[in-house]
Symmetry: C2
Subunit: 255 residues, 2 copies
């Protein structure tokens, strides 16, 4: 079966307290897409963060001693660093213009996922506004999923993604930061291979493969297609969580 990823074209600009489930249902209707069991909706982190009011005005942030210290190391705005540190468990690496942290949610990322771009200024200078990640993206996904399932009467999955850099490869790729109703990992260990001889040892990061696929479709610039409809996800849907995808610290050889 083919995997089809369709960007939703009619999602309006999202504002705090917007009803994302409603916007997605309306946009699906405009594109004449009827949800079916097994379909997945992938949302860019930014619209979830905006709907949840996670914009912060840097002008109101008072950097502490640690933020000032990292500002000297990295050359970054100490107010931004204050927010990054408040969103993080641990600083993993720094260098000029770069800070990589373990986010409170468990993943490793630059800037704790805090972003300057595509943040609309409601007052003050636009460069003063940044956007934090949703506080509990699994829960955000769950809420949107339940609202959409109640309307469509079918069993779907919802995933929230962001773009992360990688340790050894250039370029960002889409990764999961929250999910509901889809597996994070798919365990193929013990399944026979094509020649029925070897047993496989692979655990597939299925949700992250989907995140990368959806990210490709969303684009990264001004296109404004922050929701992607997915049909043909090849594994059975089940309850899942971001935590499946986070490598536990005792298995991490690279920090």
């Amino acid at each position: 079966m083919a995997l089809t990823l369709t960007p939703l074209q009619a999602i309006p600009l999202v504002q705090p307290a917007d009803d994302l489930a409603r916007m997605i249902l309306d946009s699906l209707a405009v594109q004449r897409i009827s949800l079916q069991d097994g379909d997945i909706l992938v949302l860019a982190q930014k619209i979830v963060s905006k709907a949840e009011g996670r914009m912060k005005n840097l002008a109101l942030v008072e950097p502490g001693a640690e933020a000032l210290r990292y500002a000297e190391i990295t050359g970054k705005d100490p107010r931004l660093l204050e927010l990054i540190l408040s969103e993080s468990k641990e600083v993993v690496r720094t260098r000029e213009n770069l800070i990589i942290v373990e986010h409170k949610l468990g993943f490793i990322s630059a800037n704790a996922g805090i972003d300057h771009s595509n943040v609309e200024a409601s007052w003050g200078e636009p460069e003063d506004w940044v956007l934090l990640l949703p506080e509990n993206p699994d829960q955000s996904a769950e809420k949107i999923r339940k609202a959409i399932e109640a309307e469509c009467g079918c069993r779907i999955g919802v995933q929230i993604i962001d773009s992360h850099g990688r340790a050894w490869r250039m370029g960002t790729v889409g990764v999961t930061i929250g999910l509901s109703g889809i597996p994070g990992l798919v365990d193929l260990r013990g399944e026979p291979d094509l020649f029925d001889y070897h047993l496989r040892v692979t655990t597939v990061g299925a949700a992250d493969e989907l995140a990368a696929a959806a990210s490709l479709v969303m684009g990264q610039a001004a296109e404004g297609t922050p929701v992607v409809h997915v049909r043909g996800f090849p594994y059975p849907l089940r309850e899942g969580s971001l935590q499946e995808l986070i490598r536990p610290k005792d298995l991490d050889l690279f920090r």
Copy 2:
């Protein structure tokens, strides 16, 4: 525009010296897919390796001193380690049952991409046979692309993928190990964002996002769909290479 990934169902088991371009063209015909400008074909590394005769019989491998030393550290078969070392520039990490290396091609991976599963034994015990990566996957992709383009008269891309683990996340994801006619990276730096204010700083690992998407469709177990047809890749095709996706050592903070 939607992104559609269709697994080709009619690819026979691949043997050394098989003509992959011909097999793909035949399989496309069976599924009534007519190639168009901008389409991409994604191939699992294993069928390219097999067609290029990259199977090795461990019974014929004589482990050297370094392989024997790593066998003590990792508990792995010293003959397999001999092959892994011969395919690598540098050992990056080891622990019980694990060896992570910088492959000669530049990427960081476990076991230098050498795989036991889905290797058909032509003689000897099946567990004696392993499969190395293609020697020059960009060139392999180029050759297949040119052969298919000559037949279809259109401009396509060809990509070869494998599944890699990741430093900080659980589960493998599909990544590029060779490509022809598609961009490895897409540089969005300098493009305006939705509010026309900020300039973007993102370079997207577009080929790796596609690799992950195709890997999802191929599955990892016994399904036997090692080629995926892609329509709707959202960026312009151009010449590209694996090298774009490899983080240069001086930018690598994690080895």
